[in-house]
Amino acid sequence: APQTAYQATASATGPTSFVPPAPAAPASFTAAAAASVVAAPYTYAAAPTAYPAAAAAAAAAAAAAYQQQQRPPPPPPPAAPQSGSGRVFQPAWTTTAPSYQSFTANTATPAVAKVAPPPPPPPPPLPPPKLAYQPPAASAGKQHQQFMPEGFGGGGGQNWFGQQAPGGFRQPHHHQQHQHRHQFGAGGYQQQQRRPPFRPGGPRRPYNQQQQQQKQPGQPNLASLQYCEVCKISCAGPQTFKEHLNGQKHKKREAAAKRQQEESAKPNQKQLRCELCDVTCTGADAYASHIRGSKHLKTAKLHTRLGKSLPSTDPIIVQGSVVTSAAGANQQQQQSQPAPKQQQPTPAVKQRVVGAPRFGFVPGSALKSVASDEAATPAAGPPQTADSGAASGQTAPASSATVEQQQQQQHVELAVLQEREYVAPVGSEYIDELPNEQGNKAVQYHCKLCDCRFNDPHAKEMHLKGRRHRLQYKRKVDPSLEIEVKSAMRANKLEFAQPIWGRRMDPARVNEWMQRHRSHFNVGSGVAARQRAVQTESIDDRHLAAKLATLAQAEPDRKALDALAARCEQALRQVSEQLSADGPEQQQQKQQLNGVMRIGSLAKDVTLFWDRQCELVLLCSAWPGRSLVKRLIELLPDQLCPPDSGQALLLTVQTASSGDSLLVSCSDGSLRCCISLTSVAVRDSDGADSQAQSDDLLDKEKCLEALANLRRAKWFQAKASQLESFVPVVKIVRDFRRRIPAWAALSEWAAELLIEKCISSYCAPSTPSEALRRVLECLASGLLLPGGPGLLDPCEKSTTDAAGALSAQEREDLTAAAHRAVRLMAFRQLHRLLDMQRLPAAAEHRRAGGAGVKRSAAAAAAADDGADAVSGSGDADAADASAPKQTRRNSCQDEADPEAAVEAADEQ
């Protein structure tokens, strides 16, 4: 019968209902109380064991308790203290273990209560206190809590366990008695109401109490030590303690802890938790590192000094929201500490029994095999105390077996977890051991890939497995290394890649984004205004989007180009292996191919419909010569088109016209890939050396240009690719350069640099039209004219003007073109600049889009087209911005989507 009852509850509510909203708790609480008149005496016997699950409502607790019932009584987790200091925590309720198992279920849910067998009455060993508030007698204080650990505060405590009267945890017997006399439900609850308001994470003990305690003579020094459970630090005196509690750091942590509780761990992510320090680690490595670390050691030392029990260093696997409930209960129960303490001056240190240790517990899922069942009962597992006292002596012999079993299970799980997240360290050869600068024995490690240093071999190990290092390794050494996609980060990037461009953002996300970047927006209404501006796209943005749609390269073309580049890269890699394998030793040294990289528009993903050529740079170890080019022409075709592969598209390899680079072209002549050769050695060599061998070596200028292109591609990855609106503006400018003679003189690199500088010097997020206008304005203000600053090239060591190649007349023409373009944009004639048809004004646009037009067409048209005219202000954006928002999502979404998809693909 219990089995079915539980199942009924579980299936009715589903797993999600295990964490019902807080307001539900009192209701179910009273319901439970009303239904459990028979069981009332025993409810509190059950209470202490169930309190870790306190954040869950009564139903959840019932289910949890029922699970316990089906299993052996809760054994101690492996985290039982091994310190052997004799500080045995022995809660009274452990004696009642047989009874509570059945009764939690009864009290919690009426349905269950009816089917549950009548419970045996628990032994009431102590006389009942009159009031819950009343401090217990000295004799009753078996577990004396001298230092009140603060639970990591949170709303989770508003539950029926938390509502247990103060002191209840420490004297459970009293409360059993107490509840015998009083109606459990209403009485207990009302008592609760009288308690001082719950302060999450706040100071447990009133300040005056602390002072009183201070004044007590004979109080050991240690007792006056103020310990903040949230921050895990001790303060020298009450004054400092108070200051600490009022301090920003403490409040921050408190808030963080609270937040952590609220948004419990991600459901699909397991975390390892150090109960002692209240630190959650995402991986076994991180956990191990934490345990070794000084912070943990310090905390452990402090706890030892304070006479607290030390949980084992075995990690506790945390999953889902159970953490929350534990914290809440913990806190509630600790909150009941202060009053008795005052009454009992006996120092805790002497008793050596410290109550309310932190509770490690394992959610129900942890008991099962890792993969299965997790989803079914994420939060309903039996709460389990981590404290040794619970397990050591008093537990039934039957349960001790299960303790081991459970420990084993947890170990298994831990192993699985470790295995799952095991990453082989890569790139250990890039770690240098440096002698310490002070001449100590200690060795420093330096990671050449990431350019960072460690003093500690453990840190080095961690770094080698770390994501950052792996990313660097992937980027610089082995592109084939697989790195797991970090979901949060990816979402973040996607958010930045997509939003403003071409599609309306979800206002909630805009808001959130604004909050995060609040520092940029110093003025409140500026945020709001910009937010509104971001939500609605101006007519200029619509023009740009439409133009970009016509410029966009068809997806098959882009893929074909991409595939060609990939094939060339692969072939070059294989050729490199061949070269290094069969060449003689010296030759091998000379002709090693170090790497290949994409440059140009394909690498930057700004390809437009006319792009038929991709560019690669082949980096060699030594100055490449014509012999190497010849060799490559011999070797490449076999790798490009292996005879057995049956590639449909035949590729031919030839030298480019100058003879300095390779040109791989498709047999149908549609696509080409230009491979230029270069080497770092070209830059380093002096002139005399190069002249001596000039007959064979490739042209120095071309090699240097290729090197510069490499640097630019890297610059692009590092700086420009994240910029909002960068890619659309680059595309538009590419179109200008192709179409407008004055723009043609501007090199691709100079254009990109200009755009990057313009966008990044403007701190606010800019829409493409804003960014484009800013670029034009920058040119218009005489950037390239004599007397202007010019474009300082960040990829050159010497002071170089990236647009230095422009002649004076070209500069003049370009500036004049920009001058005209600035005014065209300002007077809303962007379509003339873009050489396209004028798009309908916002009103007509909306009308075409469908419903929701409130203004009459004529009025709207007047407002839109005549916006310039209104009071002579020419506020071009105004009319657009005022348009009803719900109707204007359709225009650019379609064009924007492929782009977003491409960006998403690149992220992966």
Binding site: Y762, E777, A816, A867, A878
Partner: protein
Amino acid sequence: AYRGSRPRLGFQPQPGGPARFRPPMAHGPAGGGGGPDGMGPGFPPSGPPGMRNFLPHVPFDFVLCDPQFFQPCQEAPDDKATNELLLKRNTDLSPSAEEQQAVTGLLSKVQAVFDALIISPDSLEAAQMAEVRPVGSYKKGTMLSGHNVADLVVIFKTLPTKEAVRSVANRVLEEAKTDAKFVTVSQQPYGFQVSSADAVVKVLVATLPANLKLLEPDLHLDARIQQTSLAAIRHARWFEENGQHSSVKVLIRLLKDLRQRFPGLAAMSPWIIDLLAHYAVMQNPARAPLPLARAFRRVLELLSTGLFLPGSVGIADPCEPGQVRVHTALTLVQQDEVCCTAQTLLRVLSHGGLRHVLGLEGSARIATEMSVWRGIVVTPSDKVYERQDEDTAAAAPPPLGLLAKGRALEQQHF
């Protein structure tokens, strides 16, 4: 927390901090919005429906950019010669001592008459006067040579009927004739004008601001003109506080000269020129006045980037309530013209045409005709603004607001 303070629209670079742009605030154009600037995102804007979400564009400006972004590639050219040339031109433009003396003499006489009238109000029955203040370029110290005009605002306690103004003018004429011959007085829409052989004093008559509502168009002087006169007092006071740096004054003189010679710039009123010059010299991250040569080029740069184009943040009028952008007083055609001319001049200047720009050589045709500088052909910018008649009849010529009309008048009179 923001409720009390009303943030300025223009940029207020953070002293010491990196000079990145702060996004401007939204506001209704031409004071129409009056939205709760600075009240935080929770407050809905209260502007007119069409203008609610207007967010002005911030034009590019080298000076306000963080220097890390646009470091000069070459050594900065020596500005010494340019500076000297500008100062020389300024000396040419400044009024000579005699001119200055003539204006001062006439003005002090007229002012003495008004002072006497204020002290003994019973001596004239037609009008009661509250105060008299010198305004305009004489007061600001930005007079041009050959333009010997001083401006004086007289505030009446009574309502300025045309007859009252005439009687006051007669009184001034009587008093002035006692010690100087050849003084004539002519009545004007704004009040009257006292002319001697070599100087002119314009007396702008206004009433107390509280009386402005009581004015009747046929009986009294035009209320709009009176408002302009009152604004002139505010402008003079603002300039006294902010425009005392000599670079600002020199620049104003140079710009006024440009405006006289190049018709495209004629739309800029003296007050706009004051603000623009002050902006160009003083508005920079260091809050230190820029060198004159740099400031002169910056003025052209600012105009070229479209500081005074539609949608731009422009310069907020410090003497008007609300965030009024001064360039909204110009029509769109004028805005286009101003920008166009400045763009051409900037290119001419960059290619070594400073002397032509300043008017030391050549003619004003450089702004409208193709010219060659050291072998480089400079094509003048052409106007792009066109009325979009094709798809709306509503694109009527922009109605001049009250302020704009005032500006237009101000431009005539000063």
